[in-house]
């Protein structure tokens, strides 16, 4: 367990990130149309999310498309502002960060993007892209070449001179994703959000990027969020997993426990649905009804209630709160 060694044992482990009752609502359509329909259509992309990340922790944010995981990641990096609630980075509220404070945060919180072909300006050479964070952080020109070379080494892109003058379209997906990672790590951040960083890559290349992610996270003691819809990938890189459904957290706990013994009915379905590369695998029907979550029109009470085989009266009335079971938090009326 190399990651455990990196963790400093302090008397008061102050969280790197604290998310406090975050909500993000999007108004759909124009206000006039809403007035004519006599009610405004609001999509609650995130609806009351709470969690904290301790230093050196890697957490998987798991869920289907539309569950709010990407919006959550964007808000953590101040690319989007929450409608309600607070996000604290080492105790400082992101909402109040402006000017120098924001610039300082930008140097310490970074993102690894889903599509490496889109994450770099196609008109910039790799050297220009790598230079951008350095010049923004006022690193002296003389020092930059050295920093770039070190970052390229870190992601196992040796002989940088070979790549630096190339444009993104002249490189393969795997190489580009390494460049994107090098750019994210060049200012030595403490917190990294990785948004499905391998979903656009070929299978044979994925493993290399995942291994690299684990390696740099351990070596640099990063606090990391790994956003994905694939539990197998999350399990490979994160010791803790937060499962989201329709803008809410349904389960939060150690990844191994979630994989071996999922508690929330939704998590059960997710675990059962993940295909494995063995010919012999369970073809048992999923413990959840077919159907698509509709973020515009979620059911009252528990949002899974219309698809959940265990739903009872209370589920329609009351939103389930977090129930602590061992190291886990489960949001389900079956457990409280």
């Amino acid at each position: 367990m190399t990651s455990a060694q990196g963790k400093a044992v302090t008397s008061t482990p102050s969280p790197v990130i604290a998310v406090e009752d975050i909500r993000k609502h999007f108004a759909v359509g124009s206000p006039i149309a809403a007035a004519m329909r006599r009610k405004s259509v609001v999509v609650k992309a995130i609806d009351g999310v709470n969690f904290t990340l301790n230093k050196g922790e890697s957490v998987g944010l798991l869920g289907e498309s539309g569950c709010g995981k990407t919006t959550m990641g964007r808000m953590l990096l101040k690319l989007d502002e929450p409608s309600e609630g607070r996000i604290l980075f080492e105790g400082d509220d992101l909402a109040t960060m402006q000017g120098p404070a924001l610039r300082a945060y930008r140097a310490r919180a970074q993102m690894i993007f889903q599509n490496p072909f889109e994450a770099l300006n196609p008109r910039f050479t790799i050297a220009q892209s790598m230079d951008e964070p350095l010049s923004n952080a006022n690193i002296a020109k003389a020092e930059r070449a050295d920093r770039i070379r070190k970052a390229m080494d870190l992601v196992h892109l040796p002989d940088p001179a070979q790549f630096l003058e190339r444009y993104p379209h002249q490189m393969s997906g795997g190489q580009l994703q390494r460049v994107v990672m090098a750019r994210a790590l060049i200012l030595e951040p403490t917190f990294v959000v990785a948004d499905e960083p391998v979903s656009m890559l070929d299978v044979s290349v994925r493993a290399g990027i995942l291994n690299l992610f684990r390696e740099v996270r351990d070596n640099m003691g990063l606090t990391a969020i790994y956003i994905s819809h694939d539990l197998a990938l999350v399990r490979y890189v994160c010791e803790r997993t937060i499962v989201m459904y329709l803008g809410c957290i349904v389960e939060d706990g150690p990844t191994e426990e979630i994989v071996k013994n999922p508690m929330h009915p939704y998590t059960k379905a997710l675990v059962a649905a993940v295909p494995v590369p063995h010919p012999a695998q369970s073809h048992a029907p999923l413990p959840i009804k077919a159907g698509a979550p509709d973020a515009r029109n979620p059911p009252s009470g528990c949002r899974l209630r219309d698809r959940c085989p265990h739903a009872f009266d209370r589920c329609a009335i009351e939103e389930p709160k977090a129930t602590r079971i061992g190291a886990r938090k489960v949001h389900c009326h079956l457990f409280d």
Binding site: L79, R106, L120, P122, P160, A161
Partner: protein, 302 residues
């Protein structure tokens, strides 16, 4: 260990070629190249007008016998294109006319491209009340009838080609602004813009280093369209008699020919050459814009 900076070409030449490449001058399209050649010829003529012209275009000329050299046909007494009814040299007027035409065309194009680009960038990138204010201003500009506005404003400010250009720029930025705004709206959602924000780039840096280079060809497209419009408008205004009487332009020549009844007396040598020049410059502008369109919207070919 390989030194990083050695891989870069440090010369200013490299910088220049890179900037030049960004303008994406359409050299593949034969029409665009034709347009560029026509422009090149007119620009050379305008620059060397003093050398090329045989007379002062506004000077009233007399023959050696002190007779007014009026209404001479091309070639007579050595006047290449003849003279006007007031005894002015048409050829020299045509040469000097290219100066004002290009000045008008290029300044108007420049102003339209600059104003439209800035409006589009600000409006598209920042959104919010900036967007509302600028786009409502564009709506108003769309509502103003173009020619009457230019005539009234330039007459009000005193007739000079600069006021004509100014009045045109006040209206013509609207198309450029709108189109660039919509382009910026799509560019703004690209992942690399988010990546730049996370890398700590300021809004201004993002606008100028990541967004602006992508819309430069679009600015040039609208600029090259504006050249034609500006020259045509100036010609129309001069022809209607609201132009600057002190400056020779092709529109002024047409108006002069018309007022002197050259059309009924068969003075084709007087009104045909400026007409051809106007057509050539305007068409050249559209040819170049066509080339930019092919760069911007390659699907138009099929």
């Amino acid at each position: 260990m390989p030194e990083l900076t050695t891989a870069r070409k440090p010369h200013a030449l490299h910088w220049l070629t890179r900037r030049f490449a960004r303008l994406q001058i359409p050299l593949d399209d034969p029409f665009a190249v034709t347009g560029l050649i026509i422009y090149a010829v007119f620009i050379l003529v305008a620059i060397f007008a003093n050398q090329l012209a045989t007379h002062d275009p506004l000077e009233i000329l007399y023959s050696e016998t002190y007779e007014l050299s009026s209404n001479l046909r091309p070639g007579e007494d050595g006047f290449i294109l003849g003279t006007t009814s007031l005894g002015r040299d048409i050829y020299s007027q045509l040469i000097y006319g290219s100066r004002s035409a290009l000045l008008i065309g290029i300044t108007a194009a420049f102003m339209v491209a600059v104003i439209g680009t800035i409006v589009g960038l600000l409006s598209g990138y920042f959104g919010g009340w900036i967007d509302i204010v600028l786009m409502r201003a564009a709506d108003i500009a769309f509502g103003i009838p173009f020619l009457p506005f230019v005539i009234v404003l330039s007459a009000f400010l005193e007739p000079s080609i600069w006021n004509v250009v100014f009045a045109m720029a006040l209206i013509l930025w609207r198309d450029t602004g709108r189109v660039i705004r919509s382009q910026v709206l799509t560019l703004r959602t690209r992942t690399y813009i988010d990546a730049a924000r996370i890398a700590g780039s300021s809004d201004m840096k993002i606008v100028f280093s990541h967004i602006a280079p992508n819309i430069l060809p679009l600015s040039f497209l609208y600029g090259s369209i504006a050249i034609g419009w500006a020259i045509l408008t100036e010609a129309a205004i001069s022809f209607l008699g609201f132009g600057d009487p002190e400056t020779i332009s092709w529109g002024y020549m047409l108006q002069d020919a018309y007022a002197s009844q050259a059309l009924s007396t068969g003075g084709y040598y007087w009104f045909v050459p400026p007409g051809i020049c106007i057509i050539l410059v305007v068409v050249a502008g559209f040819f170049i814009s066509r080339g930019y369109e092919e760069i911007l919207f390659p699907k138009l070919k099929d």
